[in-house]
């Protein structure tokens, strides 16, 4: 983990209530895709955890949905604004898992942390399939970005206005995979848990106090004892999760 001041390069909406922000600053603390940042927002006491979409030397990109006071304030940030950020929090996804045909399953605003993961898996020569789930066509984001990387992308919409009609689990049926990585809402996780035929990793969210393992605010029970979502997670193995 590192702490630093980050400058907003850009911050703009990419779908209804969904924003993409590029932040310039220290990226030396980032070690894996699926990690998150904890950002101090003027007027609020607790930092706000936000998942990382992508990072390269000196630049972190996040995609977030406005869901409350913190993200609504963040959405108003303009290029040049500065934020105090803790970066490189959490374990992130494990790209060393023995997989040749990984499947990435994202639901709504859970999709962003899969992007950097997708990039890294492709770089390692894996055949990556991606399933993105949305409620309806208007809410779709990032489809092109994943396709451009070279992944085989399938989109599912609940109302059938785009792609496959139904849930991500409907889109998964015809895909050949030997491991999965997923990030999205709990209802989607339960459906995946009932459908998926391989091992996999799930990324969880929880209300956090500190974001770096000190306060025990975000603990969850696993088959191997209690874990802190912020420090021992947010990514957990399918085999350890108690549903």
């Amino acid at each position: 983990m590192t702490q630093g001041i980050y400058r907003v390069i850009s911050n703009r909406p990419i779908a209804p209530s969904v924003y993409k922000a590029e932040l310039a600053g220290d990226t030396s603390g980032l070690t894996a895709p699926g990690q998150f940042i904890n950002i101090k927002i003027e007027g609020l006491y607790l930092r706000r955890p936000i998942s990382i979409y992508d990072y390269d030397e000196g630049k972190i990109t996040v995609i977030y949905k406005t869901v409350g006071a913190g993200t609504e304030k963040l959405a108003k940030a303009a290029p040049g604004d500065k934020f105090d950020i803790l970066a490189g929090l959490g374990n992130g996804f494990d790209i060393s898992k023995p997989t040749q045909k990984p499947l990435l399953i994202g639901g709504g605003v859970g999709i962003p942390p899969l992007y950097k993961l997708c990039r890294e898996l492709l770089q390692k020569g894996k055949r990556v399939s991606v399933v993105l789930g949305f409620n309806k066509k208007e809410e779709i984001f990032c489809e092109k970005e994943f396709s451009s990387l070279g992944a085989a992308v399938t989109v599912a919409t609940v109302d059938g206005s785009y792609g496959i009609k139904g849930f991500v689990t409907d889109a998964m049926r015809n895909i050949d995979y030997d491991f999965f990585y997923t990030c999205g809402p709990l209802a989607m996780y339960k459906a995946i848990e009932n459908t998926a035929v391989t091992s996999g990793q799930f990324s969880f969210e929880e209300r956090m106090g500190c974001g770096f393992g000190a306060c025990m605010g975000c603990s969850c029970k696993t088959k191997y004892g209690s874990k802190r979502i912020c420090k021992d997670g947010p990514v957990l193995d399918r085999e350890e999760i108690i549903w």
């Binding site: 609020l44 607790l46 913190g70 929880e206 209300r207």
Partner: protein
Amino acid sequence: MVDTRVTLSGIELANPVIPASGAFGFGYEFAELYDINILGSISFKGTTKEPRFGNPTPRIAEASAGLLNSVGLQNPGVNKVISEELPKLKKCFNKPVLANVSGFSVEDYAYTCEKLDTEDCIGWFEINISCPNVHGGGLAFGTDPKNAAAVTRAVKKVTNKPVYIKLSPNVTDITEIAKACEAAGADGLSLINTLLGMRIDLKTKKPVLTNKTGGFSGPAVKPVALRMVYDVYEAVKIPIIGMGGISTAEDVIEMMLAGARATEVGAANLIEPFACKNIIENLPAVMEKYNIKSLNEIIGGAHNG
């Protein structure tokens, strides 16, 4: 050169800055960020007889200039604290620490303290009779002078180390509890624990915390803490560790003027992981600014006579 040293029951601290229990784990997360040996001491994560997961999540909520927590004393239990956590703490911190202990009966407190008593790294006991997040737990002892005294006596019987009782602000008159603990043999007091509070989500129209209520801490509670430390200082002769909303070197000095001999920093560590380091580094300059040569000389300085 200013002098930041203070003494707590015969043990000298390089400075009065102590991370508060529950906001600093067993130290090692912070040791990854800075050399925590600069700290005056550490009050480690509240320890109970049995392992505890604590309350269901969400157990953290935003509040005005502070936060609510209903963690509920998550800890691995005294045996694992001794076998796993304290060895890790000792690897990154070489000074005496405060052993923060909680319980659900007088016997619980005595059992846990007796187990911990043989640990050399423990300089003081800090007995939490004031956790607001455990139903039928600590707070029941902290709101009744007789119960507070009973816990104090029981712990004093099993250890020769100095025993500090951590008091709850959720009482009508904190000085009554303070006096009862002093009469029962407490070597010192630490105050305040968190204030019982609540937030309600306008979308769900239900409490934000699954536990419904939680302990309120952060800068917003500092005036309440100062007033209580001030009142308790007038009521007892034993030393006080003051806490509640401390985030800066100025806050430390203010708390000491109210009557604290040392101070604890809680919530600030969660927001600003370098909070204690920053406070310690800023302390000499702030002392000079206010013409303070020695922190020892300002304890209780706000009182008359």
